[in-house]
């Protein structure tokens, strides 16, 4: 099942029979991977398929329990990332590790400072950086302050940093996760230049269209092992996806419109100011009707988190928030978070570990969380433990939470099952408005389909949904209406039936004229 290399040159990297066990986590078993020198090799797989573990092994951050690593034909054993760098393997992390208040030059040399006679030799470092940047067409200015760089530029600085340390094989861990489509194209341009200069790229992703457009070879991982090696010409994106999940795929889509006339959420002039005086949410106005999903598109960090916090009353805001209910609309902007929840708002938070659950509490205790004033969890001021337990068992059953019982702690469930529990909990209190921030982030395809189905069902039952997501397909497929948020403002409204991911991406960065109608 491995590709036969048609060159005599040894593989840049070859892994054979790699195994790594962690308690309770899908790690790696019998992983085989051959990366031809001077190619872009993509490793694809779902979240939790073992890609990250594999890369950590390759980068010296984890030591494999079994198997061999060969670099340029020679067997190696890594005890630390320094060992990996020494043989020319460098890692570009998904989350940038740059100091904002330093220049590009300073960031690149940080930890590897060039000295000449006890003094820092910035001049030769600057020369080398410019040289690398020109050679590979990275277009990085060594004197620029990192704070002022955009996401795409920061990523190029990260790549430069690794090249500066002499890497010939680059591992890029989900490099496109933080980029909008235009930036992705630029990155791929850079990758092709690197390849042309003879470098080898190992590219981790689960975005298949991207993989198919840039990779020479593709290795698919599932459940901790490599299950297939293919070339882009052999497969379609759908076949690749099915290899990844081992079965047919769910698609995010809404059936017929269920939008009604009744306004559930009416937000006007919502403004949030951060502690340092910046306006992070600026005069945001929108409505959501019963049976409608409003999708909020935007590059992360443009005010989505603040919008959710302001709606939930976690963060102080100005402006009006009116929530409709059985007894008509009322202004909830001065109410506490608890009152807002009791008033019918359900929340699937963006960071479930930080805001959605108590990891070291049992599942039934997590059922109470956020609903600690409502039946079936309480009787007056006392907890109704049996009621909460019974209802947790129901959620586990109805929402297909894979767990041996409800007495286990939440931390022992996989991310997807934790998320299903949260979705089940938030739907169980009969909300009129559901705020769903990245509801399917980090969950497997099966859970993703289930969560979409629950949202669709609730929408049909007149639930109003505010959907925030970084997954453009999810946004387009699951929304009745799309609003784009940019630097804290809602800048345009788009129709998901006609918009393409490219248009949406353009609107999200404020580039191009993706605006169909002004706000």
């Amino acid at each position: 099942m491995l590709l036969v290399s048609n060159e005599d040159a040894p593989d840049a990297v070859a892994l054979a029979g790699i195994g790594k066990r962690f308690p309770g986590v899908v790690a790696n078993s019998d992983v085989n991977l051959r990366v031809r020198a001077g190619t872009v090799h993509a490793v694809v797989g779902e979240n939790g398929a073992g890609k990250s573990t594999l890369m950590k092994i390759l980068y010296g951050m984890q030591h494999p329990d079994e198997g061999t690593i060969t670099v340029n034909g020679e067997a190696v054993s890594f005890n630390s990332p320094a060992d990996a760098i020494a043989v020319g393997i460098g890692m570009v992390h998904q989350h940038f590790m740059l100091a904002d208040n330093l220049t590009v030059l300073e960031n690149v040399v940080l930890g590897n400072e060039p000295r000449s006679g006890g003094r820092l030799d910035f001049r030769s470092a600057r020369r080398r950086i410019t040289e690398i940047s020109d050679n590979y067409g990275l277009g990085v200015d060594p004197e620029a302050l990192v704070d002022e760089l955009g996401v795409g530029e920061r990523q190029r600085v990260e790549i430069l940093k690794v090249l500066y340390r002499g890497a010939r094989t680059l591992i890029l861990d989900e490099p496109t996760a933080v980029l909008v489509p235009q930036e992705v194209d630029e990155l791929f341009g850079n990758l092709r230049e690197l390849k042309a200069e003879g470098l080898t790229i190992l590219f981790i992703s689960h975005k298949l269209d991207e993989v198919l457009s840039v990779a020479d070879d593709i290795t698919v991982m599932r459940r901790g092992t490599t299950v297939a090696s293919v070339t882009p010409s052999e497969v379609t994106s759908r076949q690749l996806a099915e290899l990844m999940v081992g079965r047919a795929l769910p698609v995010p889509e809404l059936r017929e419109s269920t939008v009604t006339e009744e306004v559930v959420l009416d937000v006007a002039g919502l403004t949030v100011t951060s502690a340092d005086g910046r306006t992070v949410l600026d005069d945001v106005t929108f409505t959501i009707h019963a049976g409608e999903v409003l999708g909020i598109a935007g590059v992360e960090g443009n005010g989505q988190a603040e919008l959710v916090d302001a709606l939930m009353g976690i963060r102080a805001s100005t402006g009006s928030i009116r929530l409709g209910g059985a007894d008509g609309q009322r202004d909830i902007s001065r109410l506490s978070t608890r009152r807002r929840r009791e008033g019918g708002i359900g929340l699937i938070p963006a960071d479930r570990h930080r805001q959605g659950m108590l990891l070291e509490a049992t599942l039934w205790e997590n059922r109470i969380l956020g609903h600690q004033t409502r039946p079936p969890n309480v009787r007056g001021l006392l907890l109704n433990r049996s009621g909460a337990r019974r209802d947790t068992a129901r959620i586990v059953e109805e929402y297909d939470v894979r767990t041996p019982g409800i007495e286990v702690i939440a931390a022992s469930l996989s991310g997807g099952n934790q998320q299903k529990l949260i979705v089940g909990r938030e739907m169980s209190s009969g909300p009129t408005l559901l705020i769903a921030a990245h509801p399917t982030r980090g969950v497997d395809v099966g859970a993703q389909a289930a969560i979409w189905e629950h949202i669709r069902k609730a929408r049909a039952e007149r639930l109003a949904v505010l959907l925030i997501s970084a997954d453009l397909d999810e946004l387009i497929g699951m929304s009745d209406r799309l609003a784009v948020i940019l630097r804290g403002r809602l800048v345009s409204t788009l129709d998901p039936k006609t918009v393409t991911p490219q248009d949406l991406g353009a609107a999200m960065t404020g580039a191009g004229d993706g605006t169909e109608e002004g706000r």
Partner: protein, 379 residues
């Protein structure tokens, strides 16, 4: 799913028992190094602990320690470190002693006098702890710093008030000064124990009651749930509608109120006045007992009894020519090692449970999944 709970008990016990064994080992080493026989010391302490008087005194100490531990544990439950239990109970004991000894109380029925004294103590304790709570909620002052400083302020305040010109009187026939003695109607009668000259504090039942209330509030009420949730994850608690600031204030007030009770068994059962020789430092012992008992109502009771036994049997060591400070060393090592042991057990528990769930599901999953359909595509 119940099978997890029996292991939970074993793991819960493993940490303190391990810490005790380790502390015993360290002390044995120290004794050997200083040319004492560990066996003799153990023998001496066990003999001493069997004397009725030591036993009663130990239980009396444990009563006080337990109340202090509960006061500390209320804060611990939500990651609040009330280091000020010591100052709170001393100020509360002093002011309530002056109040209980005042002449107008004489006319009241005994039950009412005792109840009023205890309420006064709780109010003083709550107020003193509430200061720290208020500072934290309104100004963001760390309760660790403010309660430590309030301890010092309490010490100064007590010595200022404990002056013949103010709340104190000269004790007849001695140089000691204290609040005017509480007359019989305001005292709580002790329980006689055969073979012992000292009596068991009547308020040992107060400690039991406080323990029960503590357990009930934490495990069975909404308030207890919100307290636990805040302790486990403040961000999740906030997003779930828990008013965290209010919880901080409430738990500081409650912690202080229980701290106010700490001095009551001694005051109403034995001293009958707050004098210069009133026991100090119990608040810090409470921290140790809460740590060892892991904030658990029963665990803390066992820890308090152990502490009481160690303290009271240490007196007999001098007789054997062993410095009784060895007990303080032992207590110190116990606390240090138990903190480490609990953290290790906590991590181990999470890992074991993740593995168990992984295994339980791995089996069911592999049964369900169809064989992979790779071949067709790559071929």
């Amino acid at each position: 799913m119940k099978r997890f709970s029996s292991r939970a008990v074993i793991l819960g016990v493993a940490a303190p028992v391990g810490a005790l064994l380790f502390a015993g080992l360290v002390c044995a080493l120290i004794l050997l190094l200083t040319d004492h026989s560990p066996a003799d010391v153990v023998d001496q302490m066990i003999t001493s602990a069997q004397r009725p008087r030591t036993f009663v005194n130990s239980l009396n100490s444990a009563t006080t320690y337990y109340l202090a531990a509960v006061a500390v544990a209320i804060g611990f439950r939500m990651n609040l470190f009330n280091i000020g239990v010591d100052g709170q109970y001393r100020l509360a004991a002093m002011l309530s002693a002056a109040f209980a000894g005042a002449s107008f109380m004489e006319s009241l029925p005994s039950f009412l006098r005792i109840a009023l004294t205890m309420i006064a103590a709780m109010l003083v304790g709550a107020a003193w702890a509430g200061l720290a709570g208020l500072l934290k909620v309104t100004r963001g002052v760390s309760e660790v710093i403010s309660t430590i400083m309030l301890n010092a302020v309490a010490t100064a305040l007590v010595s200022y008030l404990l002056n013949p010109n103010r709340l104190a009187v000269q004790t007849a026939g001695s140089n000691n000064i204290g609040t005017s003695p509480i007359t019989e109607g305001g005292q709580v009668e002790g329980i006689a124990y055969a073979g012992s000259s000292s009596k068991l504090f009547g308020l040992v039942f107060l400690a039991v009651a406080v323990g029960l209330v503590y357990w009930f509030v934490l495990a069975r009420t909404r308030f207890g749930f919100e307290l636990k949730a805040t302790g486990l994850s403040e961000s999740a608690a906030v997003a779930s509608g828990v008013a965290v600031k209010r919880m901080v204030l409430y738990s500081m007030l409650l912690s202080g109120a229980v701290a106010g009770l700490v001095g009551m068994p001694q005051l109403l059962g034995s001293s009958h006045s707050y004098a210069l020789d009133f026991p100090a430092g119990v608040g810090f012992t409470g921290i140790a007992v809460a740590l060892l008992g892991r904030n658990h109502p029963v665990g803390m009771a066992l820890a308090a009894v152990l502490w009481g036994l160690l303290d009271n049997s240490s007196n007999s060591l001098d007789v054997a020519g062993v410095p009784k400070e060895i007990v303080a060393i032992m207590q110190g090592v116990i606390v240090l090692s138990v903190v480490v042991a609990y953290e290790l057990v906590r991590r181990y528990k999470v890992r074991v449970e993740q593995r168990e769930v992984g295994r339980a599901l791995g089996r069911t999953e592999s049964g369900k999944t169809e064989p992979a359909t790779i071949g067709e595509v790559s071929a």
